[in-house]
């Protein structure tokens, strides 16, 4: 099998790469733009990776920003960790921010990254000057651990399946395939993104080994899950944000989306913040329409 390569219109590899030691977990950090330009942080979502910003990041950098982003632990080129948690992701983010600048910088975060950053900013408001949250705002969608009697069986299945996965995690490896195979698999989770883009993502988010391509994402990680977290807690954090805020929301549900609607989000928009709803667009707003979203973001940052 050959080591295929792909290009994609507007996609540009980062200008710089470095690794940050976050409590002995290596975090892969990428940058576009001049080091002397003001910093803006881009934060990816769950099961994603920093190089998904390969189009969006350069658009921001070319407008005069030093764009800094990173792979969360277990994602992309960051180390696999023994354990993963929300708080650990936030600590890793603080390590990257501290390694970059001592002053408050804007944060543009997608999906789970948006919710992570809302918690980080609530705890460490001196770190962020503005926030753009791209479809990472709390939804009223009920979590599977809601203790209604009719959900007990669903919950039991979810926990049992999660525990079974933990048993197999030590020896789990991702299924290999051709570049085209991996793109087709991802298309099931990203049905609105073009195959050309997904094939490009394989070349930067997967490793090519003797038996084919494998996504870099830690195979011990599992999509979804359960736990005591309640979406309304994230809503309270959003309302408490003390910095200028722009929320971006699509209107088309996708498998990796949170199903948030404007009516869910609007009551919790922080004082002075605003919500932009983009019609006929899915969860990956900045990938589906990078030109429009980068313009919205740059206007907001200016």
């Amino acid at each position: 099998m050959s080591t295929d390569t792909r290009t994609y219109p507007g996609a540009r590899q980062p200008d710089r790469f470095r690794q940050v030691n976050a409590d002995n977990v290596g975090i892969a950090v990428y940058e576009w733009g001049r080091e002397s330009d003001p910093v803006v942080f881009l934060v990816h979502g769950g099961s994603d990776f920093a190089r998904t910003f390969d189009v969006f990041g350069p658009l921001i950098a070319d407008a005069g920003w030093r764009v800094v982003t990173w792979d969360h632990r277990g994602h992309g080129d960051s180390d696999y960790a023994e354990m993963y948690s929300w708080d650990a992701d936030i600590r890793d983010a603080l390590a990257v921010m501290t390694s970059t600048t001592d002053t408050a910088a804007p944060v543009v975060a997608h999906s789970k990254g948006g919710a992570l950053m809302m918690q980080l900013i609530e705890a460490s408001p001196y770190r962020a000057s503005r926030m753009v949250n791209i479809d990472g705002m709390p939804s009223k969608r009920r979590m599977p651990d809601v203790p209604d009697h009719d959900q007990t069986r669903l919950m039991a299945n979810e926990i049992g399946s999660w525990l079974d996965n933990r048993h197999n995690a030590a020896t789990a490896i991702r299924k290999p395939g051709t570049l085209v195979d991996l793109a087709a698999r991802r298309a099931k989770m990203n049905p609105r993104l073009s195959i050309e883009w997904l094939e490009y993502l394989v070349t930067v988010g997967a490793r090519h080994e003797a038996d084919g391509w494998r996504w870099k994402l830690d195979p011990s990680m599992r999509f979804g899950g359960f736990g005591p977290w309640r979406p309304e807690w994230s809503a309270l954090r959003m309302a408490s944000l003390p910095i200028p805020f722009l929320g971006l929301l699509g209107t088309v549900d996708e498998p990796m989306g949170w199903g948030a609607r404007a009516r869910d989000v609007l009551p919790w928009i922080p004082q002075g913040g605003r919500l932009e709803v983009l019609e006929d667009i899915g969860h990956f707003i900045h990938i589906e329409d990078p030109q429009r979203v980068s313009k919205l973001v740059l206007d907001f940052l200016s």
Binding site: D23, E82, E122, V146, P147, L163, S220, R230, R237
Partner: protein, 221 residues
Amino acid sequence: MSTAIQTISLQHNRITLALHQLQDGAGRPLLLLHGLGESAVNIASLPLSWAGPIWALDFTGHGDSTVPRGGGYSAEILMADVDVALRYLGEATVLGRGLGGYVAFLIAGARPSLVRGAVIVDGPGLSGGSIHATSSSEISVAGPRVGQAPDPWALIELSRDARPPNYAVTFTHLAVATSGLDDPIAVTCKVSPPWIDAIKAEAGVMTDITMQDALDIYAAI
């Protein structure tokens, strides 16, 4: 652990868990779960009587088990530690002190066919963290003891993990619905944080009972 008859190493993802046998015997095993910041050594001294084999598990980051890099603890991960131990032991009665009591309770709901009674005893880490949204705090370093057991990240994260009462009630329902036991959970502790208050009001939870009486009831099943 010097007082153990034998110690078994079990693999939970990238963590190697130490499971110590404290007592030999025939019949169903009793699995002991220590409190936050403790280890099997501490809970081995609990004064109790059990005819069958007794085992004690060192949770991730505690005792002789692996101390991971960079934290990321949750009570649910420790529940998965116990699930790994149960896969080795088979059906067992589980007794937990403090944090171990909460984990014993969780696994009773998660694996109701394997847990023949969960006994909750007072000890470190019983209450846990918030039951609702609280202000977030910046904690970016765990101090100079990082890498040593008990893992400082475990002490920080597992004393702050959220335990909403309705989440706990869900696990009670799971244990009652599938275990086949009338009372799969026994609350013997004096301390009663909100999650325990909530489950004490549920069917299938024994209250006003001593640790030994609860063990005797489960031993007879």
